[in-house]
Symmetry: C2
Subunit: 585 residues, 2 copies
């Protein structure tokens, strides 16, 4: 098992292998991929498809002298195995040592810690520019593809590299005929044209931007790749190497259904069945159901996603049902937001959905294209909670701090099924406000909720009490309930429990009223404190007689943490908060 | 004077004119441009060059049934004059009625309030999508060019439109051979190729993305434009109309120096001399001087700007001096930030400079490409102050709220010449932190300042006092000085005056120490309160015995306001604050 892979402790060992051994190495790597992915999940199809490419890269170039930059770095597993990190794949005791993304802390062969798309070309131009200033001679290579080419940052990078860099720069475009989901965009149809003509089409996107171009159709053939890479090694100008690979190569299920197997949870190798199961009703299933029903009833309603339909539960079947009322713009968040604004401006009802962390890519479009114009776009964010995605590059804990300080944007933080669906429907129907809704990360719970939310920043008192008022926002509402119960049991009084509902503003009237029979206000939020909800409350009470204690996460890039452990470290468990209250009251 | 222009109250009146009258109309519009621009300044070259295009657009299409979207909308003055708003140009008493950008509040012919680049195509795709859902037949036309094509949002939009829109969509690319500054990128060299071949080059960027394409070389010839626009009117698929215009057409100085006359202050029509003058030493001149000296001494130092060299005082002469140590990436902020990160990662010293408002376009790259990686990039932001740019699309008042809550980013707010230059030099030399420096908007003042800033969030006490502590951040430091003097004179005690220096964190030790002999802390900041500096202070003191009063702007899209009037409205004048203190102390 892993016979050849075990001989490889670094790129030098790859170079020693003959053609046959290199093939065996590819086989070992795929077995190692199966070993890790079936047990802990991760990016599946992208890594199965890129095995030969990364073997050939390490065979031809000299990392870390030559510098590799991996786009998203979700297809860097083979590279990691080839650079001393195979244990993170072959030994389950070591899985945690490997982040699943490139990471300079792990290895000198990794130049950046990345996890968002479309960044590799621009980052690599920086490495090339620094090399040129210092008079270096190393190759700088960006590996991009698998859907990333539609992102504005990648297009800006190509546009720059094509004319402004006058030195060695190699962009490997991994053309695996696949977006994350099914969406297409101009550039992907163009890649088809280039494939059809074996790279000879007169019309060539890359050349039009001033880049040199070479085509390699056998992207899963190590020897062919070695020859191609040898041709471009030490080249004195920027060039695109267009390689065609099979996404999911060597894993039949992933070859056959590229979308589903792009990323996976732990699964059974034979059947492909996930080893974990979900409740029948989740906020994701509720979202999908709402969308499909709404679209059927209302022809002005349109859903837009930058390649993240699954985050709204929109599988291939549902998307087909939606027809023209569904738009996947590819990985192009900026375009998605501006387009949604245009639709709203012309009287359409646009609902945009993606993961919280990716919405950061379009901060300015939310501010300028949407909010200055007051266009009634609804933006649905998934994975906002601190216990959703815990990779440093995918944290949702910054969403409220990032977006709640943009004027005109109403951010809603629902706390139950009824509240979520009512907010969603209100938002889609109203014509006055841009709205962002934080999809709950908790299990679905049920509670009566208001139908409309026109009066902004109107908090809701869910339990009237005294002395202490708990403002428990969004996914932390249930923790607020628990805290209230413990206060009653342990401290002998009933505190007031408030569901703020709005994360982007405060209910000044209610906060003023609380002063009558409360001496302490506690804010609980599922995100960083800096720039968030609680600090607005603290500022309001700053010159008044009210103790305020803000509970939330620190402004830090946490990475792969245990959520409950983190709360304990931060003094946010129910017991710890009770102790704080005892000191004050 | 303005004989024909005065007959035009809307597009219908344009359609009545014969060829000769249309020429006279163009003449009138240019006179009106001179009238406004010489008196109050604005976008100069872009509007002189686009006169014929917008006349022909209104002649051929039927606005507002047909929908025009203007990129940046800095070249929409002729359009505005043709849609009932000539008084904003011919009558100085009415200048203020016209914002200089498209604005739906002003006219039904304007679809969006915009001021940032590269947004028109995506916004227009939204109008087109809504039209298709509703079964409409109108033309949707985006007018872009003059440097905007390099922005990621525009490239994403073209990529989408080229393949996903299957209906009428017209993108007019105004090719005036000019960036904002001199920078080039692949796409602009490509436009040259298309001009050289009169649009017949086999290699065609737009076609490679799936767009149809038509070329019109006489972009300042009304009749030629009319014929071309008639050809594409009611077309049933997306098409790019590539027109060649002369930037600054009809204003000799602007034709000759396109960069300088892109935007201008009030000027003398004959000599081109500005009617206002500047002190010899400004923070801009200090920036330019620092950059040039540093570059000469240190070959690892490189300045990057997304088409905004003038905001760092880098004129053509200085840029030439900088040579390879200067990079203008074009309007491509995302690429600029990622490239700066790459340079820093490889040991270079990268300094990025632009206007505060444009940095919003690259929020995610600052967070992911720079800050997660901890790469020591220095970002210089100009026009951060509330009394700098007051157009709603160009406000700097959101900078601290937007960026100070990104982990690892150190934001410095200097308050004097010495402090600014020391911070700049410290930042460029240190290797541990991504740093953002807010260039002061005040007149240059002098005061002794520390040389190094390694100990983060260490505030500086500039005057030791009692009872009240004033934390006066950045450009509001001088207001803090004034307030301190008034407190002494009017209230009879000496308050403590603190220069926080760091806008991204608080000095917990100092804040704790203040509790000994202070009962009130006042924070003054030159930006919105929500998510900003003062709220962090309020949160810190929330559960302690200290009154905190945060002074700053509201979370609002202010537009073309009088700065001092605004402060008064917000209760932020020295007199008003003194009154607040009297109530508390």
């Amino acid at each position: 098992m892993y016979e050849i892979l075990k001989t490889v402790n670094g790129p030098a060992d790859v170079k020693k292998l003959n053609a046959n051994e290199l093939e065996m190495l590819a086989h070992d790597i795929r077995e190692a991929l199966f070993n890790r992915l079936t047990q802990i999940g991760g990016h599946c199809g992208p890594n199965f498809g890129i095995v030969e490419t990364e073997i050939a890269m390490h065979y031809v170039f000299n990392s870390p002298y030559d510098k590799f930059v991996f786009d998203v770095s979700h297809q860097s597993y083979p590279h990691k195995m080839l650079t001393g990190r195979r244990n993170g794949y072959i030994d389950s005791a070591c899985f945690k040592e490997d982040s699943g993304y490139t990471n300079p802390v792990e290895s000198e062969h990794d130049w950046f810690n990345v996890g968002h798309t479309s960044t590799s070309i621009s980052l690599a131009t920086g490495l090339a520019k620094a090399r040129d200033l210092k008079g270096g001679k190393e190759n700088v290579i960006a590996l991009i593809g698998d859907g990333s080419l539609t992102g504005g940052e990648a297009l800006e990078g190509l546009d720059f590299a094509g004319s402004e860099l006058k030195s060695n720069f190699i962009v490997i475009v991994n053309d695996n005929q696949q977006f994350i989901a099914e969406g297409h965009c101009g550039i992907y149809y163009h890649l088809e044209e280039l494939r059809r003509t074996k790279g000879t089409a007169a019309n060539n996107f890359f050349k039009s931007l001033g880049l040199d171009y070479i085509y390699e159709e056998n992207g899963n053939d190590i020897q062919a790749l070695i020859k191609t890479f040898q041709k471009v090694k030490d080249i004195n100008h920027p060039i695109v190497v267009h390689i065609c690979t099979q996404k999911g190569k060597g894993f039949k299920l992933a070859e056959e259904n590229r979308e589903v197997w792009h990323w996976s949870l732990p699964f059974d190798r034979e059947t492909g069945k996930y080893k974990v199961s979900f409740p029948a009703e989740t906020y994701t299933s509720l979202t999908a159901e709402y969308i499909v029903n709404k679209a059927a009833k209302d022809k002005d309603f349109v859903v837009i996603t930058p390649a993240m339909p699954m985050t709204a539960g929109l599988n291939q079947e549902l998307r087909q049902k939606l027809g023209d009322q569904y738009v996947d713009v590819g990985i192009a968040e900026e375009h998605a937001v501006a387009m949604a604004s245009g639709i709203a401006r012309a009287g359409g009802k646009s609902l945009l959905v993606t993961n919280s962390t990716f919405m950061q890519r379009t901060y300015d479009q939310i501010s300028q294209d949407v909010c200055i114009n007051g266009n009634p776009v609804t933006i649905l964010l998934n994975y906002v909670s601190f216990d959703g995605l815990t990779d440093v590059t995918h944290l949702g804990i910054f969403a409220v701090a990032a977006f709640s300080n943009i004027p005109n944007l109403v951010i809603l933080a629902p706390t139950s099924k009824e509240e979520y669906l009512n907010m969603l429907d209100w938002s889609v129907e109203q014509k006055k406000h841009p709205v962002m809704i934080l999809i709950p990360g908790n299990a679905v719970t049920s509670r009566v909720a208001d139908k409309e939310y026109n009066q902004l920043n109107r908090f809701k008192i869910e339990q009237i009490g005294e002395k202490v008022a708990i403002l428990a926002l969004g996914d932390f509402y249930q923790r607020g309930e628990e805290l209230a119960a413990h206060i009653k049991a342990e401290l002998g009084f009933v505190p007031t429990l408030i569901n703020p509902r709005y994360a982007s503003g405060i209910d000044e009237k209610m906060l003023n009223d609380l002063r009558q029979n409360h001496q302490m206000v506690i804010t609980l939020e599922d995100g960083i404190l800096d720039g968030g909800f609680g600090q607005k409350v603290a500022s309001f009470y700053g010159d008044k007689n009210m103790k305020v204690k803000n509970y939330g996460l620190k402004k830090e890039f946490y990475d792969r943490y245990n959520p409950e452990e983190l709360l304990k470290q931060l003094g946010m468990t129910t017991e710890q908060i009770i102790a704080d209250i005892k000191r004050e009251c």
